[in-house]
């Protein structure tokens, strides 16, 4: 059971990512992206990182995916048919070639390196209380910086997306 659960979630994640890559309809892409993000959260939880998994589900499947759906609705093309007919085969083939080469390089590195094939050690326990203590003591500076960065980026996003005032 401990073997099967992360594998199922990993397959769900990859299936969602493939669907987001190949589907034509933008709304379908965004919805399959929810599956990919939630599956990744499931992988985290089944690997013992409960807090990171819950944060993944809340922020990605709950926040970022909804943001993407709203952006898709706001950025509707008036002539969607036109985009779909103009497939440039040169771009398509070179993109597929680059992606395949990157995957082959990564897979060769992973499979040829030693020390990665050990059996799983006993599952570490990540207590949320201990994570909070670490975050408020050792990592207090990154936490504050992330807070400032999130505030600044949200204000910046609102200002960028605002309509420009008429002169």
């Amino acid at each position: 059971m401990t073997f099967a659960l992360p594998a199922i979630f990993a397959i769900l994640t990859l299936a969602g990512a493939v669907a987001a890559l190949v589907l034509r309809n933008l709304v379908h892409c965004a919805l399959s992206l929810v599956f990919a993000f939630a599956g990744l959260g499931g992988v985290y939880i089944s690997l013992g990182a409960q807090f990171a998994g819950l944060a993944q589900v809340l922020v990605y499947a709950g926040g970022v995916a909804i943001l993407i759906v709203f952006a898709v609705l706001l950025v509707r093309e008036r002539d969607e048919k036109q985009d779909h007919t103009t497939i440039r085969w040169g771009n398509l083939l070179s993109g597929i070639a680059v992606s395949t080469l990157v995957f082959i390089a990564l897979a060769r590195c992973i499979l040829s390196s030693t020390g990665l094939h050990n059996a799983a050690p006993t599952a570490p326990v990540a207590e949320i209380r201990e994570i909070g203590t670490m975050m408020m003591s050792v990592d207090i500076l990154p936490l504050e910086i992330i807070g400032v960065l999130l505030t600044a980026s949200m204000l910046g996003a609102v200002i960028i997306a605002l309509k420009e005032a008429r002169r």
Binding site: A17, V64, L116
Partner: protein
């Protein structure tokens, strides 16, 4: 589930994100590809934390938490930029946004 299988899953997810940002012409799907690549990196952090010799340090989990916060900020600014560009060019096709092309 051993570490190398998790790393292979992460490599596949990274490749799918790279393909999505290279092949799709819609700006939103380019951003989605970038998000998928970030998620693949996060999966690597969690996998190395799970199989590390000192998992009680929580370094991987804390890094992933900060990375998720950064990705959320990046997605918000990126989508705001796409909406603003769409208002100006009336398109979100990245091939047609070529005013600064040399």
């Amino acid at each position: 589930m051993t570490l190398d299988i998790l790393l292979l899953v992460s490599a596949a997810l990274f490749t799918l994100g790279l393909a999505s940002s290279l092949l799709r012409r819609n700006a939103i799907l380019v951003l989605v590809g970038i998000e998928l690549m970030l998620n693949a990196a996060n999966l690597n952090f969690i996998a190395f934390w799970r199989f590390s010799a000192h998992p009680e340090a929580f370094t991987g989990i804390l890094f992933v938490l900060f990375s998720i916060a950064l990705a959320a900020a990046e997605a918000a600014v990126g989508l705001a930029l796409i909406i603003s560009i769409h208002r100006f060019y009336k398109t979100s096709n990245v091939d047609r946004i070529d005013r600064m092309k040399g």
